[in-house]
């Protein structure tokens, strides 16, 4: 079975909600839309206090090319254009909408009928990318990179294949798994739309083999109607869902160090949730207004996979799943390996909120770090072939020049190093902090060079 060649670890799966069908979350009373739901320039509000909106109404336009618009996921009245303490832990611009009823924009197709590519011969590559852009689609795996940018290869680069990331290697998260079991047809149409958008003939769907039912179903459907799409079962290993690891496993190519990106080896990678959102956007005229979020944790009384409207507070989602458990230690947005801890549940759900994980005090508490014993486990575990013990020390001592030489910017922040360290040293925290600093130095160097 295929897998990536360098590094990797095996955390416990804890897929507690794998057999829980998707259920619709309740409509919130107030929805808060962050202007920072994507990588790139923040969105710019185009509504003001008192404006009436429906589901699908544009609230904020893209702030630049690498940016995305934000649409209302509810119908009601705009309460204010202010700021909110979001998942990043900082207070940033957001639009508040008081919810009234559930009216949708007329252009959105809510019939539930499947629309195939053959039903829409009018769609060409340019139109597809334009529709994706206007619908505000971003990477739904959690990275939230604006989709239309990825589907517009830079000059000199040509896409050779599309790889769909249905790996979901993060423990606890099952949103993509359920999506494949319940909406395989829509996903496959979405995949063929992506393939048409970048003009490629081959598509792959990578699925980890802890989801045999999804592999079976998707393989059956693809074999029947989509001969150009191949389902690739992958060995279970974290971080198989990393872009570069996926490309290595599926087509055996390694993406060079930054500033190289996957398109430089001809690959366009998209999350399976993104493929589904693309289907809805292009075929049903539905902008990105909701997503599946896995609410889970060993002490959560009613965990599940919720289809929730963007802007719903995490508090409400928690309440729908039994409320915050008494001995809750950490509240994590995302999964346990790469998720972000929240300081409060009054944080709105965004396009990248793939999970809400509660860990009890015992599971959440970190052990006291001990000195490094030079065992090399971190080097063996690093999925990018770096030397975490060295990068962590360089970051701690602020040796930015040497850190840059040792390729700290290649780190994908997967956390394998910290996970494997027997001394429980905070390697990933140190390296992440150093990587940010070095990237800042590189950016200012480039800006200076441009001035001259």
């Amino acid at each position: 079975m295929k897998t990536f060649r360098i590094g990797g670890v095996h955390p416990e799966e804890n897929k507690l909600t794998a057999d829980k069908p998707i259920r619709d979350a309740m409509l919130p009373k107030q929805a808060v839309f962050s202007m920072f739901q994507h990588i790139g320039a923040p969105a710019k509000p185009v509504v003001k206090k008192g404006d009436k909106v429906k589901v699908g109404t544009l609230l904020a336009e893209a702030g630049g090319f690498v940016s995305a618009p934000v649409h209302s996921s509810v119908s009601g009245t705009v309460n204010k254009v202010d700021s909110v303490l979001d998942a990043s832990g900082t207070r940033r611009a957001a639009i508040y909408v008081d919810v009234e009823g559930d009216e949708w924009e007329e252009s959105i197709d809510r019939s539930g009928k499947l629309v195939r590519l053959s039903d829409r011969p009018d769609l060409d590559s340019k139109t597809i990318v334009e529709k994706i852009k206007n619908a505000g689609i971003v990477g739904m795996g959690g990275a939230t990179f604006p989709c239309h940018v990825k589907l517009t290869p830079p000059p000199g680069c040509k896409a050779e294949c599309v790889i769909i990331n249905a790996v979901e290697c993060e423990p606890y998260l099952t949103a993509d798994h359920r999506l494949m079991l319940e909406h395989p047809d829509e996903i496959l149409v979405g995949v063929s739309l992506i393939m048409k958008a970048v003009n490629v003939e081959r598509g792959y769907i990578g699925i980890e083999n802890n989801k045999p039912d999804a592999i079976r179903l998707m393989t059956e459907k693809a074999r029947k109607d989509y001969p150009q799409i191949e389902v690739v079962p992958l060995q279970m290993k974290y971080p198989q869902g990393g872009e570069k690891q996926l490309i290595d496993a599926v087509i055996g190519r390694q993406v060079p160090a930054p500033p190289a990106i996957p398109i430089h080896v001809g690959a366009v990678v998209q999350n399976v949730g993104t493929a589904f959102a693309i289907y809805e956007a292009v075929m049903l005229n539905k902008p990105l207004v909701d997503r599946i979020i896995t609410v889970t944790g060993k002490t959560v009384s009613n965990p599940g996979n919720l289809r929730a409207r963007l802007g719903t507070s995490m508090q409400q989602l928690m309440d729908e799943c039994g409320g915050l458990p008494a001995d809750a230690g950490k509240i994590i947005s995302g999964g346990p390996m790469m998720g972000k801890t929240l300081m409060s549940l009054e944080v709105p759900m965004t396009k990248g909120s793939s999970g809400l994980l509660i860990m009890d005090m015992k599971e959440a508490r970190r052990a006291e770090p001990q000195p490094c014993i030079r065992c090399g486990k971190c080097v063996r575990a690093c999925a990018m072939g770096l030397e975490p013990y060295l990068l962590a020390t360089l970051s701690a001592h602020a040796e930015w020049e040497r850190a840059e030489q040792e390729d700290i910017v290649s780190c994908i922040e997967c956390g394998c190093c910290q996970f494997s360290c027997p001394s429980k040293r905070p390697l990933a925290d140190n390296i992440r902090s150093g990587k940010q600093k070095v990237m800042g130095i590189i950016r200012s160097r480039a800006a200076q060079a441009k001035k001259q």
Binding site: G89, T341, R366, D429, R432, S433
Partner: protein, 304 residues
Amino acid sequence: MSLILLAVIVLGVLGLVSALVLFYASHRFAVHEDPRIGQVAAVLPQANCGGCGYPGCSGFAAACVKAADQGSLEGKLCPVGGQAVMEQVADIVGLSVAASAPKVAVVRCNGSCENRPRIAEFDGMHTCRVQQMLGSGETACQYGCLGCGDCVAACQFGAISMNPETGLPEVDEDKCTACGACAKACPRGVIEIRLKGPKGRRMVVLCNNKDKGAVANKVCKTACIGCGKCVKTCDKFQAITLENNLAYIDAEKCKLCRKCEEACPKGAIHAFNFPPRKPAAPAAPAAEAATGAATQQTNNEQPA
């Protein structure tokens, strides 16, 4: 005997040849350095702290000589040596220096454990840099002191230390050389290098919070809420400005009248190194709150 003589002669000749080679090399490859640089470097404190902005004391010496040749030592200051050392440097290069006002580091935050409640526990690396990057610390204030002591670690003079009761750093004004290392280490820019003031007295807004008043009010008891009362009170000297919901006192314009301290409804403005106020008869509630909060700063109790 002739063998010994032969050995002596051979070694002697080798020695002579080496000496000649070295003599030639020392002249052919000599590096000419302005002798003044060495003289200036000799009077510097040798702390190599970088407070002057140059790489070490030798770097500063070279910069001073270069500047002197261009006519002036304007802008060159060794904060550790201070006025005394700069006068010696000026002597060596044959110029004179204007007296420069001494400066000191000020921690512009009074968000102690009592004033600013913790809302979360950061179970990770206890350095300010990492806490700032991975979250916004343990309180709801995104501008205040993070309390992990990156500033303490950066100080080479032992002039700043963490107070375990308040959770805030405290500056020992006698040891502080205003080199700026702590200010650079702070990821939130809480520490400012300000004018020390006559007799060490100065007025400072001990807050860095730029959120709107209602938000700032919720996160800390002594936060600046941007109400502007201090700005209005200082209409005579116009030393206070309000920007981004935060008041700022210009040390050069401030006349130390302490009226702003009384006017501030939150007790965010502090007076450093003043003698204790005589208890006034009917004290205004604002003044009471101000002196109440001010006594948390140990500096205030020092005689002028």
